[in-house]
């Protein structure tokens, strides 16, 4: 093979393109087709048109899963963004060690992280129970409380903010120091500088991360919901991806599961559209 051919960009891209094609594009296309069929994984798929969508709209568990996912996103996303922003501002001049500590939990594999929380949240011997007891609060078995169980999922994801943190840290460091000098010389207080300078200049990054985080929260809750709360109590932590997984691989209704996944994709695309629109509006301001 000539060196010219070896250096061609197409050839260099080929391994990744092949992997993406086999592992992502083909299954996605298959999923798209499956969403309009009745398929149990054994007998051949049968075309049923929009019947899966109709079944979904009548399924109370689907609306529960949708509601749960939105509930968790509603609390988790602002809290995660706020926490990441606070840490980025607090640690922007520190060494890499502190930043590394913030990023570390994000580098832990999902399942290991979830198993760790299974121990932390154990009402009998977990450290969370000790901590609450030390504070003089002995709640009932919180994993039996629907709101507490969802809150636990939010809490688990609050530690996985490494990527948000890194992007916000970079965005903050991008703001020219002269702007802060100018504000300081004008006698601006720290609060004024945050409200009128830092926050507005971080809005593009925050909008982008917010939209991404909402889309991502539809997926990242899968592992803790499966491992820690198992969708319970009483479906309180049944999230969309967990429900699609159960529908597909436990009840073997693969066609319906594909339709549910497609709905998630629709939600994600809608959120990305909102994000793109908001960013365009912001760019129009000349930033």
């Amino acid at each position: 093979m000539s060196t010219r051919l070896l250096q061609s960009p197409l050839l260099l891209l080929a391994p990744l393109a092949l992997g993406l094609g086999v592992l992502l594009v083909l299954p996605a296309l298959a999923g798209l087709l499956l969403a309009f069929t009745d398929y149990d994984g054994v007998s051949p798929p049968r075309w049923i048109g929009l019947e899966n969508l109709r079944a979904m709209s009548r399924d109370p568990l689907f609306s529960t899963a949708l509601w749960n996912s939105l509930w968790v996103a509603l609390f988790a996303v602002p809290l995660r963004l706020g926490l990441a922003l606070g840490l980025a501002l607090a640690l922007q001049r520190r060494s890499g060690l502190a930043a590394g500590a913030v990023f570390l939990p994000t580098a832990v594999p999902d399942v290991a992280w979830a198993l760790l929380w299974l121990w932390i949240a154990n009402p009998f011997y977990g450290p969370l129970a000790w901590l609450l007891a030390a504070l003089g609060w002995r709640p009932d078995l919180w994993l039996l409380d629907p709101v507490a169980a969802k809150a636990l999922l939010v809490l688990i994801t609050l530690f996985l903010i490494g990527e948000l943190f890194v992007v916000l840290l970079a965005a903050r460091r991008e703001i020219p120091p002269a702007l802060y000098d100018a504000a300081l010389l004008e006698g601006a207080s720290a609060g004024f500088v945050f409200r009128r300078l830092t926050l507005p200049l971080l809005v593009p990054a925050l909008l982008f991360l917010g939209a991404r985080d909402i889309a991502l929260s539809l997926q990242t809750t899968f592992t803790p919901a499966l491992v820690v709360t198992k969708g319970g109590p009483n479906y309180a932590t049944l999230m969309l991806p967990l429900y699609a997984y159960q529908t597909g691989f436990e009840y073997l209704r693969l066609g319906l599961a594909a339709a549910q996944t497609l709905t998630m994709l629709g939600l994600t695309l809608a959120m990305m559209a909102v994000q793109t629109w908001a960013l365009r509006r912001w760019r129009a301001l000349g930033l």
């Binding site: 002269a178 000098d181 010389l185 009128r196 300078l197 200049l201």
Partner: protein, 357 residues
Amino acid sequence: MSTLRIRGLCVHLEGRLIIGPLDLDVAPGERLVLAGASGSGKTTLLRAIAGLVPLTAGSIELDGERIDHLPPGARRVAMMFQSHALFPHLDVAANLGFGLKARGARDADIQTRVRAVAERLGLEPLLSRLPASLSGGECQRVALGRALLRDARLFLMDEPLSSLDAPLRARARGELLQLLRERSSPTLYVTHDQAEALAFADRLGVFAQGRMLQLAPPRWIYRQPASLEVARFIGVPSINLLPLSVDAAGVHWQQLRLPIEAPPHTPLLLGLRPEQVRVEGSQWARPLPGAPQVTARIESVETLGDQQIVALSVGTERLLARVEAEFAAVPLQTVQIALDLREACLFNAEDGRRIAP
């Protein structure tokens, strides 16, 4: 009427002495220009006075009041930055009013004062525009407007015109000069542009390695540089430095005996500005009785519009002369040159200090 008084100022960064110890007085309404190569510490000095960099020793007084322990916002000092430091997300009006709002002024007051300054600087049509849509000159005027609204006792200007192109810079310099003349606050102006320094300064300070090499009116520094370093830094084209030999027979440059006195056994350099090298036939070279003369060869000629710079060689030495634009200088031609030694400077070649006059 504000006076700036600095005593024993030192600044260290990461344990290294960047500035000082420095004493400096700037009178009310005076424009003091700091010139120096980049990295000489002039910007750091401005930042130290503004309170953006901590002092390790010394004091800063404004109007007899110590300000070095005050936070930057309480010093009532306005600073213009090289980058203009306009807030990219705020329109021109909000940029101008930023400081007033930060200090809690009422919206109606802010509007009145911003309008007044905008009118003065011709910024009214731009008030609702964002900085990204402004030209360099417009950004500079907004930054100036913001500084004027500060009600400052001292103006610090860190190369505020350096981002403008040459014709615009000359005009902006004129406007800036006029505005500063109307105010009684002293101004410290940092630049590495000599034309700007000479045009702007009441007094010029040449700064290198955190020390003031010389502080005097610009004309004085040009004529009587305190050291070789200053002599080399000020003046375009730069000064001619001719190595002299001193023995019992007198002072010589090449074979030419010079009618000057010098201490023996010291390596000497004679500093001659290009206009002090007089080329025979040039209208600018009026006869100077007693001036030492020598034959030189024209190596090259550079035309600058209103004048020409002629590169000459005498033996192995090269020197530059300034002649009028009309002078017919032909390369490789030989000419007589006369050295005007009336204001020439003598430097000790070893330590760089000026010996005479």
